[in-house]
């Protein structure tokens, strides 16, 4: 029997779940691995939360929808079609839930910057909060009509490719591109008077979103 250093048997090496791909994690989740599920949740929760919160303009609702998104992922894990990327799938779910929630609430598709002042009042009551959604830029984004706000956030905040957006929204690629462009131009218009002011007021930059 040869002595010497034991070489770990490759067959039994257990991979750290953090290193696994989304699809591999999902496979584990199907086998009731809750740790794998937590890893998956941590991977996507901040990205999705930023999207959902900015879509709904309400923190509580956003958390509910975020939770519901992950619950759906878990409940329908067998129905996932592997020809699509996992991220496409989870974005689809999140976007559908947002859309339904917005319809349900019958929010105004379009609300001027004035209306958002009311939200600021509400936002101040949140504990120890910096009024994250009350900056000029946030307000301007919030004022975009839903269709434009969706694609704008997906592109600029979540940094999805046009392809992914087309798949998640089930919209032709050309439509996505033109909507993004239109959204940007609307935003530009809204921000016109405020740019100089905002730029001078901005403090130390927070951590960029796409690192998450």
């Amino acid at each position: 029997m040869p002595t010497g250093e034991r070489v770990p048997n490759r067959k039994w090496r257990v991979s750290d779940p953090v290193d696994l791909t989304d699809k591999d994690l999902l496979a584990r989740v199907k086998a009731n691995d809750t740790i794998a599920f937590s890893v998956l949740v941590d991977r996507y929760k901040i990205r999705l939360f930023n999207l959902i919160y900015r879509m709904l303009q309400n923190r509580e609702e956003a958390e509910d929808i975020l939770q519901e998104t992950f619950l759906r992922v878990f409940k329908e894990k067998e129905k996932y079609d592997p020809t699509y990327a996992f991220s496409t799938w989870i974005y689809t779910i999140a976007l559908n839930l947002c859309r339904n929630e917005l319809k349900r609430k019958k929010r105004f598709k379009f609300f001027g910057l004035d209306l958002i002042k009311e939200d600021r009042r509400y936002a101040v009551e949140e504990k120890g909060n910096k009024n994250c959604l009350s900056s000029t830029l946030e307000k301007a984004i919030a004022s975009l009509p839903v269709k434009y706000r969706t694609v704008f956030l997906l592109r600029e905040v979540n940094q999805l490719s046009y392809e992914e957006m087309s798949q998640s929204l089930d919209i032709p690629l050309g439509t996505v591109k033109s909507r993004v462009n239109r959204a940007r131009l609307i935003l530009r218009k809204r921000l016109k008077p405020k740019i100089e002011e905002q730029y001078e007021l901005s403090k130390s930059s927070p951590i960029p979103i796409w690192l998450f």
């Binding site: 941590d42 901040i46 956003a62 975020l66 619950l71 878990f74 905002q198 901005s202 960029p208 979103i209």
Partner: protein, 232 residues
């Protein structure tokens, strides 16, 4: 490229979303058009804002906990119900409601019961299978009824012979009770099929010959041992 078009492309230009020719066209235009150059600066600022000024929003710290708690509360997924045998599923599809199933069970049990009844009846009845058609040719024979014989099958045979119209008025000598089994194809005796062979012979008026007997083979169920031979 005119100013209006350039303004449409400015965002894409700074985000490197434009194909090379258009990128070049915009660049050239910006070099020469101060209005558009100013606009370009604004766009650049907006892009910076989008990078730097949007705060990263974070869900509450107990989010994962609450989510996992809800996951635990989901109805546990049992194994696929469709692992039931195909005939079970088919049956349940055809008879979905409980009432139908009881009716089906009732019908099935009735059928089984009826068959059992028929089957056992058949087995206890002994029907003489006439081996030979010569019975009708027999004339005026005395029925020998030996009291010594206790074999119940013999008794029964007598009864049946008496009942059988073609045999009734004729006398038969019944001889040679033998406990025989049928022969299988290879000539060997199969114990499963038990027969009693009754040799029914014709007694000639001259009491001389024993004619060749006509053998009546009766299938029996009972395993009564053969009685002794009857001598006549």
């Amino acid at each position: 490229m005119n100013c209006r078009r350039v303004r449409q492309y400015l965002f894409g230009y700074f985000k490197q979303e434009l194909p090379p020719e258009e990128t070049e066209e915009v660049r050239v235009h910006l070099d020469s058009c101060p209005e558009c150059a100013k606009e370009a600066k604004e766009i650049k600022k907006i892009n910076f804002m989008l990078k730097d000024d949007l705060e990263t929003l974070v869900p509450s710290t107990d989010f994962n906990e609450k989510l996992l708690a809800k996951i635990q509360m989901l109805p546990s997924e049992t194994k696929e119900k469709d692992t039931r045998r195909w005939w079970v599923r088919l049956l349940l599809e055809v008879f979905p409601s409980v009432r139908w199933r009881w009716a089906l069970a009732g019908a099935v049990s009735v059928i089984i019961f009826a068959y059992a009844v028929m089957f056992t009846q058949k087995q206890t009845s002994i029907r003489p299978e006439f081996y030979s058609q010569d019975a009708e040719k027999m004339e005026g024979q005395d029925l020998v009824n030996s009291p010594k014989v206790t074999d119940s099958l013999y008794q029964e045979l007598l009864e049946r012979v008496a009942q059988t119209s073609t045999l009734r008025d004729r006398a038969f000598i019944i001889d040679n009770f033998s406990f025989s089994a049928s022969r299988g194809e290879d000539g060997r005796i199969q114990p499963e099929d038990l027969y009693k062979r009754f040799v029914i012979e014709r007694r000639s008026p001259l009491n001389t010959q024993r004619g060749r007997g006509n053998h009546y083979v009766l299938p029996v169920v009972s395993t009564q041992p053969a009685s002794q031979k009857v001598d006549y």
